[in-house]
């Protein structure tokens, strides 16, 4: 008997490699001011994530941490396109999206270190970064759920006629869970002002998305089932993302309903912690490193006439800021033990009986 799974060839899907023309968006209609802003964001995310990795290896960041190294252009492109009032919903891989909304690095790093000066006072950790003040409405670590929650924020914006859009980031692996499909249909039916952004980094945890997904483009190929356009964007080119983001946000804001964007990208590191990523086939990482979002963007700025020294100055400023945030995080006090008992309830406490 020939059982179907005996022929299921893990790792035999075609490699998805990056586009090979980093100049493709040199002529895009994006101001130099915005471009420099995005470059700075890319640097902040990159240097922050590297520092987070180092601190993890020094065992100062406990538990787990999921880095966006290699995927920064998605966060920067959207971050620069969003209005200050728009909502961000992120996943456990959410450091970059949090920084993209202007949340200071110190609080984020201190949160990773479990300190009282952390963004969440040490009660949430790396996977749950939230800053309501910056409209970062949370980072969620149960696959799929936050798409439905983003719908709720979008519904509230629609009901209040506030003009806000909710932007919800998630991974390729998330397209296979039920909540994804419930959320898409729901958003489409009620024309909610929500932009779903699939960061297709080609892997769930350790399994390649192509091996366990019925369609080639995990998000884009599902979009038409819910009446949405299949949109795929080069997720390593911040300009490409920015243009698509601006269009998607305008569409959602105008009352025309949700948008699904699939941003094709790649994570340079492992899924989490110190995962060495041994499941990646030979040549794949190298190809994507050659199309690194920061390299792509720096090259563009130089072609557009920005002096190398000016770019280096941005890098240096960011490096200093990361160092400063690291010191402040390391010097942060441990949370007051009483903090473990606060904010179970809206009255600030944890009492459940008289």
């Amino acid at each position: 008997m020939n059982l179907p799974l005996s022929n299921h060839a893990y790792g035999e899907h075609a490699l998805v490699l990056p586009p090979d023309d980093p100049t493709s968006h040199d002529d895009a209609d994006i101001s130099m001011e915005t471009r420099l802003r995005m470059y700075r964001m890319l640097q902040e995310m990159r240097q922050f994530e590297k520092r987070a990795y180092d601190l993890f290896m020094q065992q100062l960041v406990k538990g787990t941490t999921h880095l966006s190294l290699g995927m920064e252009a998605v966060a920067a492109g959207f971050g620069a396109a969003m209005d200050t009032d728009d909502y961000t919903f992120a996943t456990y891989r959410g450091h970059a999206h949090t920084l993209a909304r202007g949340v200071p690095m110190e609080g984020v790093l201190a949160e990773l270190l479990g300190r009282a000066n952390g963004l969440l006072g040490g009660k949430g950790g790396s996977m749950h970064l939230t800053s309501v003040e910056h409209k970062v409405m949370g980072s969620y670590a149960i696959i799929g759920a936050h798409l439905t929650i983003a719908n709720g924020a979008a519904w509230s914006a629609q009901y209040r006629r506030s003009g806000q859009v909710a932007v919800c980031f998630f991974g390729d692996g998330t397209t296979n869970i039920g909540a994804f499909h419930e959320a898409l249909n729901y958003a489409a039916v009620f024309k909610l002002p929500v932009v779903f952004v699939c960061e297709n980094n080609q892997y769930m945890e350790y399994t390649a998305i192509g091996d366990i997904t019925a369609v080639r483009r995990p998000a884009a190929d599902r979009a038409p089932a819910y009446g949405l356009e299949p949109i795929v964007v080069d997720g390593n080119d911040a300009d490409a993302v920015h243009l698509v983001a601006a269009e998607a946000l305008a569409h959602a804001r105008s009352g025309k309903g949700p948008v699904m964007v699939e941003a094709l990208t790649y994570r340079h590191g492992g899924h989490s912690r110190a995962d060495p990523g041994k499941y990646k086939p030979p040549g794949e990482l190298e190809a994507w490193l050659a199309y690194d979002p920061i390299k792509v963007y720096r090259g563009r700025l130089e072609r557009l006439g920005v002096a190398a020294a000016d770019i280096d100055a941005i890098n240096a400023e960011v490096a200093a800021a990361v160092d400063e945030a690291t010191e402040a995080a390391k010097n942060g006090p441990l949370p007051d033990p009483r903090a473990a008992f606060t904010d179970v309830w809206a009255d600030g406490g944890h009492q459940w009986r008289s």
């Binding site: 409405m137 439905t148 719908n151 924020a153 606060t342 904010d343 179970v344 309830w345 008289s354």
Partner: protein
């Protein structure tokens, strides 16, 4: 004063709050056009319009997610999960998202929402439409749990639940929907976390919830004829839990009984037993007795279902047996 059915009281409570506050909205499967499969939202669409009373797809995760996201950003949604059994397909939203987000964000996020749901058995719906799941809910830190037993309480506790800044699961008992009771005119606002003594008594404290309250009261009447004077407490709310009212009663009677519809293992009564052990031990004059549904799924045949859910006769007999000198 009006005589309302329990189901009418649900709609009245919701209407009272929608009238008062524009940020209160209602979503769920068949809640708008059809007025709810249990008719607990009859008339609300006509009264408050399609922007505030919304029929959703059969997508329990999407429903609860929408309620949560809206609650985080300025609305006070009421979401319906038709049968409480269906919480199993969206329990993540309750347990991992609604319950934890305030805590994890160090108080940044507030989630003022109500999830109303038809709970419990006695209607011969079989094991997938009859569960009493209040004991799952009370086991989750961060979720408030209410289960009214009378139409008046339905109105007042619905108002309290809507006004609460915490997520509240509001368990309506399906077996009570057609029961009737007097409801005062005008707005009624009750308080979460408060039990009610429904019948004062001096020989035993009998604590019940939901459908079990009327059965415990009927059993108490029969026991009174046999010279046993039971105090019957309607718990009304499991979280917060009004342990003080129960302990105060136990202090007077010396005996404690729970009447629970949930399956026996880790039913709400076991927590009450533990509390009595901690804080009421020296008041006890005899063993605590839990009268519960056995630890089984419910069968659909009326003869079998009636054997499993505590009946008036069983409650009466178990109490009488336990109090025999």
């Amino acid at each position: 004063m009006a005589i309302l059915t329990y189901r009418e009281a649900v709609a009245r409570g919701i209407a009272q709050e929608m009238e008062r506050d524009d940020s209160v909205v209602l979503i769920g499967e068949d809640v708008a056009g059809a007025g709810g499969v249990f008719k607990t939202s009859a008339g609300l669409l006509e009264r408050f319009g399609p922007e505030r009373v919304i029929d959703t797809p059969i997508a329990e995760q999407a429903i609860l997610g929408a309620a949560m996201g809206a609650a985080m950003t300025g609305l006070r949604p009421i979401a319906e999960i038709m049968f409480s059994d269906f919480f199993a397909v969206c329990w993540d939203l309750v347990v991992n998202e609604m319950a934890k987000t305030r805590y994890m964000t160090n108080g940044q996020v507030t989630i003022p929402l109500v999830v109303k749901s038809g709970n419990g058995g006695s209607l011969r719906f079989g094991a997938q439409h009859s569960q009493s799941i209040e004991n799952w809910a009370m086991a989750v830190p961060g979720i408030k749990v209410v289960a009214p037993s009378t139409p008046e309480d339905v109105v007042g506790l619905m108002a309290a639940a809507v006004r609460s800044d915490d997520p509240v699961l509001f368990f309506e008992h399906k077996g009570l929907y057609s029961s009737k009771g007097e409801v005062p005119d005008g707005p009624i606002v009750d308080e979460l976390g408060t039990a009610r003594v429904r019948r004062p008594g001096k020989d035993a404290t009998v604590v019940a919830l939901g459908l079990m309250v009327s059965r415990a009261l009927a059993a108490a009447e029969q026991l009174a004829e046999r010279g046993i004077d039971c105090e019957v407490i309607d718990l009304r709310s499991l979280v917060p839990l009004d342990a003080a009212t129960v302990l105060e009663s136990l202090g007077r009677t010396g005996r404690l009984f729970t009447v629970e519809e949930n399956p026996r293992m880790l039913g709400w009564g076991s927590e009450l037993v533990a509390i009595a052990g901690d804080d009421g031990f020296w008041d006890l004059d005899g063993p605590i007795v839990r009268i519960t549904t056995p630890h089984i799924p419910l069968a659909s045949a009326d003869s079998l279902e009636d054997l499993m859910i505590p009946s008036v006769d069983r409650i009466r007999d178990e109490i009488e047996q336990a109090l025999k000198p």
